[in-house]
Amino acid sequence: MKKVIEVNNLTKEYKGVKAVDDLSFDVNEGEILGLLGPNGSGKSTTINSILSLLNYKSGNIKIFGKKMDTNAYDIKSKIGVVFQDVAVFDELTVYENIDYFCGLYITDKNKRKQYVSDALDLVGLKEFTKFRPKQLSGGLLRRLNIACGIAHKPKLIFLDEPTVAVDPQSRNNILDGIKKLRDNGATIVYTTHYMEEVEILCDRVIIIDKGKIIATGTVDELKNLSNIKEKVTVEVLDLSDKYIEEIMSLKNVDSVIYQNNELFVTYKKGKNNIVEMIDYFKNKRINYSKIFVERPTLNDVFLELTGKELRD
């Protein structure tokens, strides 16, 4: 598969502290690569280094097979970036903003008009073309931010936490838009600390912590790294310590936590452990309101690998 980005031994330091530590990875053409990690893990620094916005201490970065640097305008023409902070002109309207940023890449007026129109369609801002950024809600503003970054139809798109502080409706709209971009053939690097988005969108995930890659693979591959195979949650009132101890001794049970009238049971192996759990409650004549089983999340994987939550 053709490599769009090749990062080799990238190291970036801030005043002697390593923000990115000997990072190496590739991004393949047409895939959505998720860069997952908590705040301050080095995701944005990695992207800024790839884009040559930052000087880095050592390493080698190639995009589309060519060395990336500040003056690599032929490479830059194929890249679109959506930054974490909304980067638009307050003085210009929605249309004028998209037209300006698209105009930095596309000089043909008619082609640009079409591209701006397509971008407005993609993010669902057709009705707001004459609005100024200050007149838009947070969600709409984020959509404008995305439209400004991708209007010129780049082949490689960096999306740096584009859904931070966005309402659910706008988030769904943004995620749909990203899927459309992928379907249109764009390669996407997507950084976030929302594991749900990674699970929905990403073909491959790199988990970063303290500037280092701690795991990489597809979502399923990462989940298989976890010692936990199943999680059963039961909503039950006033469960005594005696019962908790008994549940702990059941087959395949790894851990039991009971708090706020919810019982969390994790299993190291086995399938359909929920059946045994239902039988146990039935035999003991304990009433419960809800019981469900789920597979481990990426957060569980991250927790196991680093000892902390993704949103810490």
Binding site: L54, Y73, I79, V81, F83, D90, E91, F101, G103
Partner: protein, 381 residues
């Protein structure tokens, strides 16, 4: 074109504050100039003199007559207290005490000194000059002429002699001074306006978030900076043209002459210097709220130091030494040179051309510094 269009749109969105700033500074300049108009008007005045004559001789009478012709003789109550009050309240500027037997003592060659009292005013000094002139002439003739009437005639003849002065200069100094004042003040007004507007617009383009997007785009960052510089030039040219048109109404006689052409060239070169300076400041300033402060420090500060508000000849030498580091100094000096130009030979114009060159060197330095600053801005950390 994209950058230029965005520049125009942003300028348009800020047009209220831009127009307000320009109009205020222009009105301030024109008002200042009109209140300064009287500076070059001169009116003849006579000092008010009181003569306390205790002598009855012809020599002293001739002295009183001379003062009658050349000054305003005041009559004050005949006591010393009233005379002192008159001096204090400047009803009189000069008091001459002629003692008894002054005429006979003078004729006999005695060295007599006249008592005087005076105010430390221009009129007091002028009256003293009249008295000295009379006494010097009288003393010269007294040594060779013994007859009293002949002596008086000789004194009067000499004092009546006038030197004919022909003014050969055809300069309309009043209008030229007016033009100089207008163009000098224009330097403050234009510098303040350009720094404010250019910094305001660059601040929008140089916001970290926008700047990052511009840097990662396929548009060459230097090229985009050049377009911004040219866009700012367009705005500055319109402003300069506006000031020029106003000057056509204020000092038309000067503007449609060789002096006017030189004022235009001087102000045009200064405008370019202002653009490059404003562009450099615009690239350095990161906070919108700092713009007004920078305008005051740079535009107002340099104007005070370089003789825009206070004539250069009234400024202390150490201030002028500092002023040399500002382009405004060379611009103001250029205006002063232009207003005094009688003919336009190369030798006369050479100092002016030197000032033009110095201002152009300032431009080049500002452009180089801007390039260094903007190159550093291509990286965010």
């Amino acid at each position: 074109m994209t950058v230029f269009k965005a520049f125009l749109k942003i300028l348009n969105r800020n047009k209220g504050i831009v127009i307000m700033y320009t109009v205020i500074l222009l009105v301030f300049g024109v008002t200042n100039m009109s209140t300064n108009n009287s500076n070059n008007l001169f009116t003849a005045s006579k000092p008010s003199v009181l003569i306390v004559n205790e002598d009855n001789g012809n020599i002293s009478k001739n002295l009183v007559k001379y003062f009658n012709e050349n000054s305003e003789i005041k009559k004050i109550a005949n006591n010393e207290e009233a005379r002192n009050d008159a001096l204090f309240y400047q009803d009189v500027s000069y008091i001459i005490y002629i003692p008894k037997n002054y005429s006979s003592d003078f004729l006999s060659g005695k060295n007599i000194t006249l008592d005087i009292k005076k105010t430390d005013t221009y009129n007091g000094a002028y009256a003293e000059m009249l008295l000295n002139r009379y006494l010097n002439v009288a003393n010269i003739y007294q040594k060779s002429v013994s007859d009293e009437n002949e002596l008086i005639n000789k004194i009067n003849e000499t004092l009546k002699k006038e030197v004919k002065v022909e003014v050969t200069s055809k300069l309309n100094t009043g209008e030229l001074d007016k033009a100089s004042f207008y163009y000098n003040f224009m330097s403050y007004s234009m510098l303040a306006c350009l720094i404010y507007v250019i910094c305001l617009i660059l601040q929008v383009f140089n916001q970290d978030k926008i700047s990052k997007r511009n840097i990662i785009s396929s548009t060459n960052y230097k090229k985009s900076n050049r377009i911004l510089l040219l866009s700012n030039f367009l705005y500055s040219f319109v402003l300069w043209l506006f000031y020029f048109i106003v000057s056509m109404f204020i000092v038309p006689e000067v503007i449609f002459s060789m002096h006017g052409v030189l004022y235009l060239i001087n102000s045009f070169i200064f405008m370019i210097t202002c653009i490059t300076l404003s562009f450099l400041l615009g690239n350095l300033i990161r906070n919108k709220n700092a713009i007004s402060g920078v305008v005051n420090v740079v535009a107002l500060g340099s104007s005070f130091l370089c003789g825009v508000f206070v004539p250069v000849n009234l400024l202390p030498s150490f201030v002028l030494s500092v002023a040399h580091i500002f382009p405004t100094f060379y611009y103001v000096e250029g205006n002063t040179l232009i207003s005094s130009l009688e003919d336009f030979s190369f030798i006369n114009l050479k100092p002016l051309f030197m000032n033009f060159i110095i201002m152009i060197i300032f431009c080049i330095v500002f452009i180089i510094l801007t390039n260094i600053v903007s190159k550093k801005r291509q990286k965010i950390g």
